[in-house]
Symmetry: D2
Subunit: 347 residues, 4 copies
């Protein structure tokens, strides 16, 4: 039984780690930290944990944390993680960081997309992008895992087989994604105030969302095309959890439906958390709610020569905490699904 | 004060006509019909109308209806409207039909997209497509107005200036639309059962939705390109009302943001129901809830050379009953906004 | 056409006044004020008002406001209204105040239930409690109208006939009320953050809600019993608008169902905004959404000798802004339903 | 590892049993039946189970089922269970029945509250009411367990300490309960159609709900008063899961807050699934979502001499499938929380 620490345990990603790790047969959360609520019982701050967790929120003491745990999840927001994570790595502690602070390989992307200069760009080189379906081998040896963003996970898993098998014109990719409100975090703000948010649907940060370079970086890696760019539009859905991405691309001459099916089967038949959805069905967010699954379906629009891929994940699980636990499983050499195969709470 | 009849008054489109016409200073609903609930008071079937309407649901007697009203709205479902509407037209009664039975000019589109042979294709020629922002002049003289579909309205209004001013490559158009559940009508079915539908988001009829030929028909008319085709993907949002369409197209060489702004201003500055949304804002469905407005905003994604247009309407108002009343106003020579300028019920 | 001013026009009550007054044939809003957003166009702060209102938010200058308007609605929060309203009254301006600052006749209730000493208790005497179904005659002459709270409106209208006709044991009254989230106002706070608030139901301030003395004050007036007390429990429903109150009382010996029906008919048959709901139907909040109606139904539980009354209102309309407009209509001698008879936006 | 059969596995209670039993370390579901969808894979009917369950829906063959399983859950609707369950009992198979067909001890209650004569009243005698917090000892030996209704569970657990310790006047009990929509089952009907059901709140079956006699039967047992009656009002909340019951009673002379606290502690301190909620907190349905917990809090309203108890459960878990698994644990001598201690999916 390994000992797990969580930095920033009271936000939505932090409590989702607590939820998922409760099922894990080989890991136990022993230390949790919070800046704003240190000293409190986690079950006072989050009453849903009563009779589940007896754990107090500690102040963040990196040295103590490193000493007393075997692996650390950082659920700090971006811009804060980079102040804490490098020190843990220097102490040779394995860290799975759920922020975006170590995902981008090109330091110039930080000022452009995030608005700050990265203070420790050397860590960008050694971090491993924690998408197991692409980087499984590298994750095994990683000291610092940069856990992927929610939108990028939903898009990269949908495009990987098409890009790798060279089935689409990569200059035509458009990703239209829709996310539940938990993706915005636990901070109460007017756009997420219930009366404003329910019975409303909108696009936001059109053409300028900070997940764009992350998606492009990985598609470039997969395609070998260093100039690949795409259009990405996020939307806000009046629901709590779930991302559905609808991805459009022109298929290459001669490519047919069966070839696309074959590419998906080949890429994913051994994956524990990818479920291919066959016609006439299509992915729906409710079928992956609370789970680490990514459901993928597609249609070929023969009239226009496009493929339309639809993927569904739970943004807090496969899009954050669940994927982080999957990465921990890889890091420790356990089967990837260890403690992660939960049925959906349905309906 | 003219007398108005509504055929099929108990469905969502029918009761929305009742709601909107209640505000109209020149028109009064005097006859309403229902097949399933004839003889009932409308306020028994729909208690929200108590103290608002004292009207009984009649059986559908076309002759009597024609005699006793000045204009008729048909809110029958598609496939049923075509059995009733032609007879009213033969009796020289003005009809605004809210089904899709008279929208498509090419009779062959009906078996392909709707699954039935059209029994009276000559009526397809004489009907006028009731989108005032395109066909205002024709509507004035129309005997039979085919009121547009909800998705087509949201897409055509977004694309019209770009197509007419030749600013985009029309072979690259992709429309990703999201609709509230009222678009599915009042029939209780499993996918719309509250526990299945709330906290869920999904795509449906990907590449095969029956509104596709209607959108293409009108874009061909606007562009002059008889072969224009596009990709259209509808989605279901867990909310009652509203359609948000996100429309993608490659812009032509040399076209810039200001030129696009100018095209929208030029096309719509005199329109009563189009509201252009300026940066940094974008349309949201909640801002048009219950109203006949269509809000339109756009972004130029300079990195990829695409324009992304976002439009928002209320599917039951500008997407159905409100547009029908706007058409009635045109037909009778009244200002288009007569009885239609309502503030949103917000929040 | 009279000129109307609104103090505090950007909160939910303020914008609801703007919405409703837009329909009014005799009144026009000419001045609106806001402390936090003065100088802004109302349609910038609330985009739903584009093409509906061209009005700028002014700073609050009481003298100017009094000079340039015929009647003033104050939509300031409680504790703030009492700093501004008395001065307007001193300038002999008619004010309809939507806060609770002038509702309670006993100054001692303020420190006990609201936590502050009332600075101008003489105004408590001259203010009129603005529930038309009880105080219509007094409202006609009032200088200062204290518009009722949302919960009290839903409860008092349900109990008035039973209390007045002496049909129930007034020591047994229990009011279990459920409110939509808009009742909490527009301030973003964690309990109303969409992910926390949706798919949740809870009671709050059990036995200690500040509307309790207001309900008791008016029931004492109606019953003549100066010691009447009751139990009131508010709950939060994951919806935007609506209050449903379920009210329990032991019926007096010999009282039967028909006698109760008769009491309701007698009390309300001439009321424009009360709708009695007959068996087997019961009030539902959706049937009054966005309207000034109060729907009332009841059941006699013969096994236990209790009557159970169910009432439904829209908390922002009959529970706030709509009732305020109804009071304005009374004040100016217009029919009470002037500008207020709107059909529900349904579904 | 025991083998479990589920009759009626596709409804909401059936799939909740499948979800919960997936976590169970000692039990495995080996046979599931469905009348309407026999022959189908469960993961075709319910795609959320893909990669979780490989199980086919069988036709209902009671003999085969009895032979091949160690315990059987019946999730048939009431009126149907009584046609199948007795035969299983005759074959000496342990059955946990989730319908109401064997809950009421007095056969006369069936025609009065359910509208049918009970065909096998002798089974009413031998069945054990499966509320572990009351009947734990009897459950251990039961051949047929009548799993409690959702509303009764939420009310009985709230009242048990007060009744047993004689702290309240049992003639004054009023239960005002609010339930999520999943309680209505999976059948699509107009009142549960998303556009009708969302943004709506209502009471139903006021004074006549069929759970009333079940609540009274058990309160009579607890109190020893064979004439105890109460008022019970159910309401429908626009959410999927959860019941919150607000329970009112007059406290007996001399009873104080501390005495009530003590009664709850004494009754529940050893219970695995009861969580007492201390001031200033109160139960909320979201804190028990998806779990077998029952959260209980109370307030003494000293002004009126009443106690107000608030309880929260998940209607599909502690109100149905979870309690059934708890009963199975008791039946097999395992710790009650075996396989049932799950953290909430939050938010």
């Amino acid at each position: 039984m390994i000992k797990v620490g969580i930095i920033g345990a009271t936000g939505y990603t932090g409590i989702e780690l607590l939820r998922l790790l409760h099922f894990h047969p080989q890991a136990r959360v022993t230390r949790i930290t919070s800046t704003s609520q240190q000293g409190e019982e986690i079950s006072r701050v989050h009453p849903q944990f009563k009779k589940i967790y007896n754990l107090q929120l500690d102040e963040l003491d990196l040295e103590k944390l490193a000493e007393e745990t075997d692996v650390i999840f950082s659920a700090l927001p971006h811009g804060l993680a980079l102040e804490k994570v490098p020190e843990l790595t220097r102490m040779e502690k394995k860290v799975i960081d759920l922020s975006s602070d170590f995902r981008l390989k090109n330091p110039k992307d930080y000022p452009f997309w995030y608005g700050f200069e990265h203070p420790c760009p050397d860590y960008l080189e050694q971090s491993v992008y924690g998408l197991p379906e692409i980087y499984r081998e590298n994750i095994k040896e990683a000291a610092l895992i940069a856990n992927p963003g929610c939108y990028p996970t939903s898009i990269l898993l949908g495009l990987k087989p098409l890009i790798q098998e060279n089935l689409i014109d990569s200059s035509t990719v458009i990703c239209d994604s829709k996310s539940g409100v938990s993706g915005a975090g636990r901070g109460a703000k007017l756009p997420f105030h219930f009366p404003e948010c329910t019975e409303n649907f909108k696009a936001y940060r059109v053409g300028s969302h900070q997940h764009t370079p992350e998606i492009e970086q990985e598609l470039r890696y997969l395609s070998g095309d260093p100039n690949l760019i795409l259009t990405f539009t996020p939307h806000l859905v009046p629901m709590v959890r779930g991302i559905l991405s609808t991805i459009y691309a022109v298929i290459k001459n001669g490519v047919e439906k069966e070839g696309i099916s074959e590419a998906y089967r080949k890429a994913y038949e051994k994956e524990a958390f990818i479920r291919l959805v066959e016609e006439p069905d299509l992915p729906e967010t409710k079928f992956v709610y609370g789970t680490n699954f990514c459901d993928i379906g597609f249609r070929v629009d023969e009239r226009t020569g496009r493929v339309i891929v639809v993927t569904a994940i739970d943004n807090l699980v496969k899009g954050a905490a669940g994927q982080a636990v999957q990465n921990m499983n890889i890091l420790f050499g356990w089967p990837e699904e260890t403690g992660l195969l939960h049925p959906v709470v349905y309906p």
